[in-house]
């Protein structure tokens, strides 16, 4: 395997491939480093190898931080191990594009994962690495989607799990976590409080907190979204990606995925412009972007987009740098715009997304209205979670006809449907 070591993103100090996430020298984040010198440089062969892999993220095992390769007795059987994620649809969204005055828009529907969000990608990688490292218990601090995924992966693999969430999370996300038999802990506080608590707990326990001590491995899972988009576009790059930003990890790792494959010659062309999407009620990255700052000032979140409600984003500085470097940006939208975004996506594509997807769609609409997107661009909208997770956001957003069980009652109530 090509995985080589952990390296500090700031001072480049190197560490072994263990459950470490912070540089002891400068406190910077650690990241997985690879040595791809052993990989075939024949692009055709490399592509065929990927295409011959399983219909899940393990087809990209060469680019993921596992020492032992994909889980399972063989790559072909990997889909029988754990809860395989990925290979979600990339849908050409012509009706959405038309509505926004754009030419080519694609929707990457990551709600089509086992627990209905992109988090299954990162958790699959983190949990597989946790098993390689000998951990028996997995855990996380979550805004909801991660909670669903960690609980389900624990169940699928027979591992104990502890899931910490803000106690005021959407009921759907709480129910869709507890059912897997995890130890669910509702914390009286915000996500940032939960995260601080878990960082303290992590230090004293022999648990794999997927997004704390396993975070370098976990974050790598998000690269598979870029790999899939490129593969599904016929080994081509999009011109622009619109991606939700909470901690900034997904946003930066999608770009890293495109970069890694471009370096290897698997795809060619200019790096896509990266546009980050936040809710106004929690927009530390969008505010720093607008103000020209290179670090984020933490905020206390107040938004219906709870899955994005991270007031103190760990990868904020890197997200800002990426948006500026690629000619993209980071924008924020109001709760009303988020609801309108959910409706717009549903009405034009048949994809029902949760509030985070409403944020992303609303930001795309904003960019289009502002004239920021050249009509010739190929744009990918990354939809990270399912609308069934945040039903309150759409409650009372439409009316239902109420009739008696007779033709007469139907035709009286719905006159435009009278048979002629």
């Amino acid at each position: 395997m090509a995985v080589s070591h952990l390296q500090c993103k700031e001072c480049k100090a190197q560490y072994p491939l263990e459950a470490l996430y912070v540089c002891e020298q400068c406190f910077g984040p650690l990241e997985v480093a690879y040595d791809h010198s052993g990989i075939s440089l024949d692009v055709g062969e490399l592509r065929r190898r990927i295409q011959g892999g399983p219909q899940n993220i393990w087809r990209y095992a060469d680019f993921l931080p596992l020492a032992g390769g994909p889980p399972g007795p063989s790559g072909r059987l990997a889909s029988r191990v754990g809860l395989p994620a990925g290979c979600t649809p990339l849908i050409r969204a012509d009706r959405l594009a038309e509505r926004l005055g754009l030419r080519e828009v694609w929707v990457k529907n990551d709600a089509a994962n086992p627990t209905h969000s992109f988090k299954d990608r990162v958790v699959s990688v983190a949990v597989t690495r946790a098993r390689e490292l000998g951990f028996e218990t997995i855990a996380c601090a979550s805004t909801g989607n991660l909670a669903n995924s960690v609980a389900a992966h624990g169940a699928a693999l027979g591992m104990d799990s502890y899931v910490f969430i803000p106690a005021n999370l959407e009921e759907q996300k709480i129910l869709a976590t507890g059912i897997y038999g995890t130890k669910l802990v509702g914390v009286d506080g915000s996500y940032d409080d939960v995260n601080r608590l878990c960082t303290e707990l992590c230090a004293e326990r022999d648990w794999a907190f997927v997004n704390i001590n396993l975070r370098p491995y976990y974050a790598e899972g998000s690269k598979t979204l870029a790999f899939e988009i490129a593969e599904q576009l016929g080994w081509e790059l999009p011109d622009r990606c619109v991606v939700p930003v909470a901690s900034g990890s997904l946003f930066t790792k999608i770009a890293r995925g495109f970069e890694e494959w471009t370096e290897l010659g698997l795809i060619e062309g200019k790096a896509p412009r990266m546009n980050g999407a936040q809710a106004e009620g929690c927009s530390p990255v969008a505010s720093a972007y607008a103000d020209g700052h290179d670090v984020c000032r933490p905020v206390k979140p107040d938004t219906i987009a709870k899955s994005l409600a991270i007031g103190n984003p760990a990868d904020g500085p890197y997200a800002l740098d990426l948006a500026r470097r690629t000619g993209g940006g980071v924008d924020a939208v109001s709760d009303d715009e988020i609801r309108a975004g959910i409706k717009l996506l549903a009405e034009t594509t048949g994809v029902f997304t949760e509030t985070a997807g409403g944020v992303t769609t609303a930001v795309l609409a904003k960019l289009a209205a502002r004239g920021d997107i050249d009509p010739d661009e190929r744009v990918v909208l990354v939809i990270t979670g399912d609308g069934l997770k945040t039903l309150d956001a759409v409650r009372d957003s439409f009316e239902t006809y109420k009739i008696g069980a007779s033709v007469e009652s139907f035709e009286n109530t719905v006159p435009e449907a009278v048979a002629v």
Binding site: V22, F27, R196, T199, A203, P298, D315
Partner: protein, 91 residues
């Protein structure tokens, strides 16, 4: 004012293995200076040359991020608990 400073695992090697230590100070900055005086190596690990905190260091006073209070100038009551943690977790 006596303040209990909790030291994260990643910094304990530079603090003779201590998980916590009691220092005195009227503000967060004074308490941290007390910490640096005891364990000299900690200063460059968590602070910039001008004394401000490095960008991946979070400091909490009784569980609240000091950036929501008065930053390094935040007064610390007697018996308060100051927690230093890495900022690179979560998400």
């Amino acid at each position: 004012m006596a303040v209990l400073v909790k030291i994260p695992t990643q910094l304990r090697a530079a603090a003779e293995g201590a998980a916590e230590t009691e220092v005195s100070g009227e503000t967060v900055a004074e308490a941290l200076n007390g910490l640096y005086e005891r364990y000299g190596e900690l200063r460059e690990r968590i602070a910039n040359e001008d004394g401000s905190l490095r960008r991946f260091v979070n400091v909490y006073l009784a569980g609240e991020d000091i950036r929501f209070l008065d930053g390094l100038a935040t007064p610390v009551p007697d018996g308060a608990e100051l927690t230093i943690l890495p900022a690179v977790a979560g998400g």
